[in-house]
Symmetry: C2
Subunit: 176 residues, 2 copies
DNA sequence: CCACAACGTGGCATATTGTCGCATCCCCTG
DNA sequence: CAGGGGATGCGACAATATGCCACGTTGTGG
């Protein structure tokens, strides 16, 4: 039986993940920081883990490294608010099996766990086209917004644009 | 003595890299596609390689995988036009030691070769703040522009904006 | 030499943004 | 319960930015 460890400092998000996994029949355990996660890894011996990168105190990267020392078989997927190439490569080098940018739905996460290396074929055939400026903008907005718990004022501040402008962008691209 | 293999389908960029490495005292060899690179790997036995991800025919990812089969000690850095988390994690899983987005200058590349895992400490202390919208936009423009050999008309098309608009953005953010 | 593609530039109509103000809602605390 | 603080939605208006067309220039290849 698979047992999944969920690590995220943000209660709401962690519980949402938790419910989703339970609904799919998985056994779960949760932690909100490095120390808690390490303790649970020792006690519960999970077989899979979903780890948020950004946490108060010790980072998710360090958790990946240390957890694998005491549980080498653990399969870890790292989640992060803003995907950064640097942290992604670092996480993989430390032994994580995948790295996803929030918002990641459960299906994506499960796919990341199962997925070994079938991405290659796609990458080979697919012609790599640059995303449009508008698309890049939109995706970044979504990431920051998720990181601010959909707090528009906060997100606007971090994005360096006016709150009114963010409102209008959101309205425009989310018609329904 | 270190011997570096440079793989990029684009002559201009490859030669620029080549000159820069030679100027720094490295021995180099170059290839413009998968087959050429594999042949040279066998013959010349380079110790390091810089591989462009996007090439006509077989992808740089496949090259990473196959080259490491015949030269397990080879240290490979992957370069790419548009940094994508998915391809970055894939490259690392296949055995590349680092993954950089163009435009990457030689110093960055050399740093990537030397750099083992000292990134961790920074990531731990640094508070991860989202980049502003303007910054994300600018970086994306730079990547696409580089991919179009600074062809403004072409880049504008791919970005989904008007050529005149791109011109104005470039003028605005590159004042000198 | 000509065709072609890309560049820089100006002008102008239209679209987007910044800024302010205001009403509302929610949460917390005295 | 009243009041303060913070978030939200929205209207209005001026300041900017953008799309679009046109023209002249330059470099390249047939």
């Amino acid at each position: 039986m698979e047992k999944i460890l969920l690590v995220d400092d943000e209660d709401f998000f962690r519980e949402r993940l938790n419910r989703a996994f339970i609904r799919r029949g998985y056994t779960t355990c949760t932690a909100s920081c490095y120390d808690e996660a390490m303790a649970i890894t020792r006690k519960e011996q999970p077989t899979m883990a979903v780890v948020d990168l950004k946490m108060p105190g010790k980072s998710g990267l360090l958790l990946v490294k240390d957890a694998l020392v005491i549980a080498p078989e653990l399969r870890i997927v790292v989640l992060t608010g803003y995907g950064s190439i640097a942290t992604a490569t670092e996480a993989i080098k430390l032994g994580a099996i995948s790295y996803l940018a929030k918002p990641a739905d459960i299906d994506e996460i499960l796919k990341a766990f199962s997925n070994d290396s079938n991405l290659e074929l796609e990458s080979l055939t697919e012609d790599i086209l640059p995303p449009s400026l508008a698309r890049v903008e939109w995706e970044h907005i979504q990431r920051v917004l998720a990181d601010c718990d959909d707090n528009i004022s906060c997100a606007a501040k971090r994005l360096g644009i006016h709150r009114r402008t963010l409102q209008r962008k959101l309205y425009k691209y989310a018609p329904k």
